[in-house]
Amino acid sequence: MSIRERLSGNEAVAYAIKQINPDVMPAFPITPSTEIPQYVASYIANGDIDTEFIHVESEHSSMSAAIGASAAGARTLTATSSCGLALMWEELYVAASDRLPIVLALVNRALSGPININADHSDSMGARDSGWIQIYAESNQEAYDNFLQSFKIAENKDVMLPVMICQDGFITSHGVENIELVEDELVKAFVGERNPEHFLLNEKEPMAIGPYAVSNYYMESKRGQRQAMLNARKVILSVAEEFEKISGRKYGFFEEYRMEDAEYAVVVIGSAAGTAKAAIEHIRSTTGKKVGLVKIRVFRPFPDEEIAAALSKVKAVAILDRSEMFSGTGGPLGAEVTAALYRAKVNAEVVNYIYGLGGRDITTDDFEKVYEELYRIAETHEVRDNYRYIGLRE
């Protein structure tokens, strides 16, 4: 029987860590992810787990130590947010190119400046090209479930890539919700032990990692990473299937909500999906308009064909980004979904919104306005401004 609890997102991820009992966790405090290493430290202090905690002096060192520990053969994780992730930037690329199955619990928070401690996706979106798998959560339950699946994806020998498990700062990380936990024994059997093929401490075979690769070799190493990302697509889905067997909860690359007959769709990542769902129910019950939602769970690898197929029958799509990329043309999700639609020759009208930067609230009213704009665009085929902000102070 699963265990019913009430936990915040940070508690939920920390609980998943406790159940997995990983080998090494280097971490450095930063709001709003600080609670995760705090909980882990208390589990260690009370003898609940035997993870070794490394009290590093910066996030750069936390990812550096994680790389050392993972290369040595240990199951390794860390947690961070915002500027902490930015300080790791160089190391994120090294971890991915070294093909190390590190898991990072990311609590999404706006990047400075100005300094801001609240949710947006500028941190993880800034790391989107670093070679990490990125999986996002709408709720505490999803953050927990995604974390339980993370090592199994990362350590699969056809993948061997680091995984970032993302949840929205404060909204998810500090909001306490009902949650269903999987029993310890089931988690243990599901996650298993790490059995690395090659590692520094292999007594039978010394190993060198982190070479200087000249032009003759560098490009092949990048192609290898791409292949791992392609392989990850299959593995993410098969791990999700296995997870469904122990939890009863189903996961894919994204969630389609009321999309079976939808004519107007929103694409969004993270906690705002919950607000969108409430708006959809209200709109459908009051107006009968066929509105739906695609909530992205897996952003890396990017499931472009699947997203295009999910949107192939709609008249108009609004893609909502919780981060700027200052191209002057939209946000990262907007750019990638639009490109996916173009490649698949999907003719839906597209509009891109930026919302929720630095923790700005997004409400059901906001979503209703977005859908109203989609009705207008679908009818007139006229997108006046294909890149706009929601909830901006006038």
Binding site: D23, V24, P26, D50, E52, I54, H55, V56, E57, S58, H60, S61, S62, S64, A65, A66, I67, G68, A69, S70, A71, A72, G73, A74, T76, E90, E91, V94, L200, L201, N202, E203, P206, M207, A208, I209, G210, P211, Y212, A213, V214, Y217
Partner: protein, 317 residues
């Protein structure tokens, strides 16, 4: 451990007959002290003990592990420029965990090498953190007194007045303005069990013994090795050993160790030579020998004397 450290040193045994763990085929320059430092330190590992060797990004790294060839007999990790300390702290922690789980049977030792740029400057925080946390590994700085891998830019280890590509001696400037950072003393102030400062002298007993103590003392250890660079310093490649001898006999480079806070001088010159003897054979100090720069030479001598006296006091001499 005591009998290990007190055993007599035999040059032929340790430096000639012992199997190398840093092997030929690397691309370091002829006359490079860095390569000699690595080879000497790794030779002090006991046969049968396994090791993981680390590198900060450096001349050493790009010359000793250019894909697909590694010059190390042992497992090896390079991560980046500024994080050799943090990286090895991860490896060492993983070892303790996996050993505790019974997954590893043998004895492993952990040694990481950084140049002075990667140690005194950009990697300082990462090394300081690792030493403070007490990880059981040796951080070896092969100190050639500048960013040699990128073409001799000044670092905080560069001696005053040295002509580097970012502190060039010109018509109105006389090389680097500041004196060098005393990293070994700073590491001693971390209250770690072992700090040593050495270079290559005579039969290599000093570096061998210090490396062995650093490696086999439980807990963190720091070893600072003066490692001349023929390109950056401007000396004949065959003169490396002579340059090292002059560095210690002029007291420019005191050789000492700090064991649990107790400072001991491990070499006292029979006759303290004037600093000019060390500076003259090096192109980077050529401008100091212009007649109008006599005062700078005197300043240099004063600085050396002051540092030497401080060391003598620390060593109760």
């Amino acid at each position: 451990m005591d009998n290990v450290m007190n055993k007599s040193y035999n040059f032929k045994e340790e430096m000639i007959n012992k199997k190398d763990r840093f092997v030929p085929g690397h691309r370091m320059c002829a006359g490079c002290g860095g390569a000699v430092a690595v080879r000497s330190v790794l030779r002090s590992l006991h046969e049968g003990d396994k090791a993981v060797v680390g590198n900060a990004t450096s001349c050493l790294e790009v010359s000793s592990y250019m894909y697909p060839y590694s010059a190390y007999e042992d497992s090896y990790i390079h991560n980046a420029f500024e994080n050799a300390g943090a990286t090895m702290s991860g490896v060492e922690t993983a070892y303790r965990v996996l050993k505790g789980q019974g997954k590893i049977k043998g004895e492993y030792k952990f040694i990481t090498f950084g140049g002075d740029g990667g140690t005194y400057d950009i990697g300082f925080q990462s090394m300081s953190g690792a030493m403070e946390r007490g990880h059981d590994f040796v951080y070896v700085c092969y100190d050639n007194g500048a960013y040699m891998n990128t073409g001799t830019q000044r670092s905080s280890a560069t001696p005053r007045f040295a002509d580097t590509t970012t502190t060039p001696a010109g018509k109105v400037k006389n090389g680097k303005v500041q004196v060098r950072k005393d990293l070994a003393a700073i590491m001693a102030e971390h209250h770690i069990p072992y700090v040593g400062q050495t270079t290559f002298l005579g039969n290599f007993k000093d570096i061998y013994t210090k490396a062995e103590k650093a490696i086999y003392t439980p807990g963190p250890a720091f070893l600072n090795v003066l490692s001349p660079c023929p390109r950056g310093w401007g000396y004949e490649t065959s003169d490396m050993m002579e340059i090292c001898r002059l560095a210690v006999d002029t007291c420019y480079w005191p050789m000492f160790e700090v064991i649990d806070g107790t400072w001991t001088l491990t070499y006292t010159p029979k006759k303290k030579l004037p600093i000019e003897d060390f500076l003259r054979p090096q192109r980077r100090f050529r401008h100091l020998f212009k007649p109008e720069n006599e005062e700078l030479l005197a300043d240099f001598q004063k600085e050396v004397d002051k540092n030497w006296n401080e060391i003598l006091i620390k060593c109760n001499m």
